[in-house]
């Protein structure tokens, strides 16, 4: 079996197997898998509205997944994407509603503010790791809580209530053309931002000296040091870029999907899902497109399962988790296929 064929086959096999197991669970619990999956299908591709919303859902996943994947590539585990996203969201919204600027300045400024806020949030664990060797996992987790509660307090202090005012139209990523063709879905220009980010990050990692250094440090710190690279500097840069991407994910929420920022009772979950997206995408920028698409489509489409097929929320969560689980376990199929071809070889 050729390698490329196998690489395509494995995720497909995994999805199919996940669907089958999900179907069995639905059957056992007395729900129709056909109705359930029709609802899932309609929830993702049902009409232009749902397609628009599906893409809208994929947008922040792309950026969050990219943030995690970038850090992974350079040997760092950034669990703080969640917090970086939250501060980015706040920063973009703040610039969006408190400044009055022409559009060509306002949008870039708001996006930049979000990226810088996320980058700053990631700089802290980065510098701690580089200077003092503090484990970035612990720090980033804690930074998530700090981000959540600080932004909640800031929103209440600035807006005086739980939801900020809406951003000015000059800062909005919404696109009237999209709204018209997708029956008022919230699909917005953020998807372009995300796709550009994918290309830029791919370029940085694969084509630039910066990416060369970052990956080298990720693979082998000692050899990088021997080759004269500044390992500490690279750790910080890597974290900051990762945080910048996470901040951009926040910007797409602030300037596109919501157009405001409101206090939150808990994490948004996008940052954590970003870890799964990155793993599904094999930490490859282009692979992240696959991971985010799968994740975003399932997440959004599954909303329609209780709606159209009357399947309880909890069961839907289980089914979606199983599908993702099987895809993430792609290596099991890899082993299976390996064994199959090995047996043939022996005979």
């Amino acid at each position: 079996m050729s390698k490329s064929l196998r690489n395509v086959l494995i995720p497909i096999l995994a999805v199919i197997l996940g669907l089958i197991v999900g179907a069995i669970i639905m059957l056992i619990s007395g729900y129709s898998p056909i109705l359930g999956y029709t609802a899932l299908w309609n929830g993702i591709f049902g009409d232009l509205y749902t397609i628009g919303e599906t893409i809208r859902q994929i947008t922040p996943y792309l950026l969050a997944g990219l943030a995690v994947a970038f850090a992974f590539k350079t040997g760092l585990f950034n669990i703080g994407v969640e917090g970086q996203l939250i501060v980015g969201w706040f920063a973009a919204a703040y610039v969006g509603f408190s400044f009055e600027l022409p559009m060509y300045l306002h949008i870039p400024l708001a996006i930049l503010a979000a990226g810088l806020a996320g980058g700053l949030w990631a700089f802290v664990p980065g510098i701690l790791k580089a200077r003092l060797g503090v484990n970035e996992v612990v720090v980033t987790i804690m930074m998530n809580y700090i981000a959540l509660h600080i932004t909640n307090a800031l929103i209440r202090a600035i807006a005086g209530k739980d939801t900020s005012e809406r951003i000015h139209e000059t800062a909005s990523l919404r696109n009237t053309f999209f709204e018209e063709i997708t029956d008022y879905s919230r699909l917005h220009n953020g998807i372009f931002l995300a796709l550009i980010a994918v290309v830029v990050i791919w370029f940085i990692l694969e084509k630039t000296t910066l990416g060369f250094e970052l990956k080298a440090v990720g693979f082998n710190q000692d050899a990088s040091k021997y080759a004269g690279m500044n390992v500490k500097k690279n750790i910080v840069i890597s974290m900051v870029i990762s945080g910048f991407l996470a901040g951009l994910a926040g910007a797409t929420e602030a300037l596109g999907t919501f157009e405001y920022v409101s206090t939150k009772g808990g994490m948004t979950g996008i940052g954590f899902d970003g870890i799964a997206v990155a793993i599904l995408g094999a930490n490859n920028p282009l692979g992240v497109i696959f991971g985010a698409t799968l994740f975003g489509a399932l997440k959004y489409g599954s909303l329609n399962m209780p709606n159209e097929a009357g399947i309880p929320e909890e069961m839907v969560s289980i089914i979606i988790a199983i599908i993702i689980f099987f895809v993430a376990c792609g290596f099991i199929f890899q082993l299976f296929l390996d064994k199959l071809s090995k047996k043939k070889e022996v005979k």
Binding site: K3, N7, F258, T263
Partner: protein, 363 residues
């Protein structure tokens, strides 16, 4: 490696096109078979929860129970043309959930929680024929009816009752996220306490969450240990932890003086220690079910209160104090009723913000 990625991508692309094509066909079919159950006498009604979920033992659950009760009374079934709910897992789900319900042609769509105010405002502009009800927030649109409660009035009475029955002269207040609604609960409670005895100390703790019982338990532990004997919680699911802590203390030491005042619904059942003992002193009721039924009635009569804000207080029986179990003494009840009279008559305005509380205390 590169090759394989390319092939995955192209496969996805192809899949995408195929799927979009199919999707369109589906859409046509759907459009034809969308109007069912419209010629029923009773109106169909559905709700979208906030991220607390439908089983939060509090706000969302109360609303859903109201919907269910209405549906069952009128012989409706769960689903299209009857009654239903959609749960929101994240803030991003509000808009699509509201949209789904609009598409399913429910006569009335209820959104519980201030978090849904912005999404409702957005959808209301796009779907001018649909009728929405927002609870706990105000949305100025012709097709949105806003329902607010004077939570401060119920919690004022709770404060009076707590002040009368405390032995340690120390009380506790556990809040969820800081927000306007919880601010009303807190200020009303403190005003009630101060009206009876300004020297009573009220410890305040905001847990920052409506869904973290462990934080509620920790907060209650702290307050009881510091000498409080009655804790009022306005924190949704977080409050379940407050009850757990109190019940544990009472189980360990039957003579312990620990009480909890519940919120939103009558939370008497949460305070059960054993068949003879219950540590729920009372609950500050918020009759979301009543409010929803009112709107339904008006809508049936053709008077959907779109664009209006209905604020329900003690006078309208929209809020109140639960008396289940008889843990409030007769004297307490009498005093509480005196205060209630004053509020209903308009002799007393209960403060609903920190600023109002400040001027109230100065008086």
């Amino acid at each position: 490696m590169k090759k394989s990625i390319l092939s995955i991508l192209s496969l996805l692309l192809v899949l995408g096109f195929v799927l979009v094509g199919c999707g369109k066909k589906e859409d046509d079919k759907q459009g034809a078979s969308n109007n069912e159950g419209a010629n029923n006498d009773a109106i169909s009604i559905a709700m979208v929860t906030d991220t607390g979920g439908v089983d939060d033992k509090s706000f969302n659950q109360l609303a859903w129970e109201g919907l269910k009760a209405y549906g069952e009374e009128n012989g409706l079934e769960k689903g299209d043309g009857g009654y239903d709910y959609l749960q929101s897992n994240t803030d991003a789900d509000y808009v699509p959930n509201l949209n789904s319900l609009v598409r399913r042609d429910f006569d009335l769509i209820v959104a519980t929680g201030f978090m849904l105010a912005e999404p409702i405002a957005e959808i209301a502009d796009q779907k001018k024929d649909a009728k929405f009800v927002i609870i706990d927030s105000e949305v100025q649109k012709d097709n949105v009816a806003s329902v607010m409660f004077k939570e401060q009035e119920a919690s004022f009475l709770a404060g009076v009752a707590a002040a009368l029955q405390t032995k340690t002269k120390k009380l506790g207040f556990v809040g969820g996220m800081e927000s306007d609604v919880i601010e009303r609960f807190e200020t009303g409670f403190r005003a009630g306490v101060a009206s009876v005895d300004p020297s009573i100390e009220v410890m305040i703790n905001y847990t920052g969450s409506f869904g973290s019982p462990e934080l509620g338990k920790a907060a209650a532990n702290q307050m009881y240990t510091a000498g409080a004997d009655i804790i009022f919680h306005a924190s949704g699911g977080t409050g379940n932890g407050v009850f757990t802590e109190a019940v544990e203390r009472k189980t360990a030491d039957p003579n312990a003086d620990v009480w909890v005042i519940g919120v939103d619904s009558d939370q008497y059942h949460l305070g059960k220690v054993n068949d003879d003992t219950n540590i729920t002193l009372t609950s500050a009721l918020k009759r979301i079910d009543v409010a929803i039924n009112d709107v339904i009635k008006l809508t049936k009569e053709g008077n959907f209160p779109g664009g209006n804000t209905t604020t329900l207080g003690l006078a309208e029986d929209g809020v109140g104090l639960a008396e289940t179990g008889g843990n409030l003494t007769a004297e307490t009840l009498a005093t509480v009723n005196e205060w209630k009279e004053k509020i209903v008559n308009g002799d007393l305005t209960v403060p609903g913000t920190y600023e109002e509380l400040k001027s109230f205390e100065e008086q």
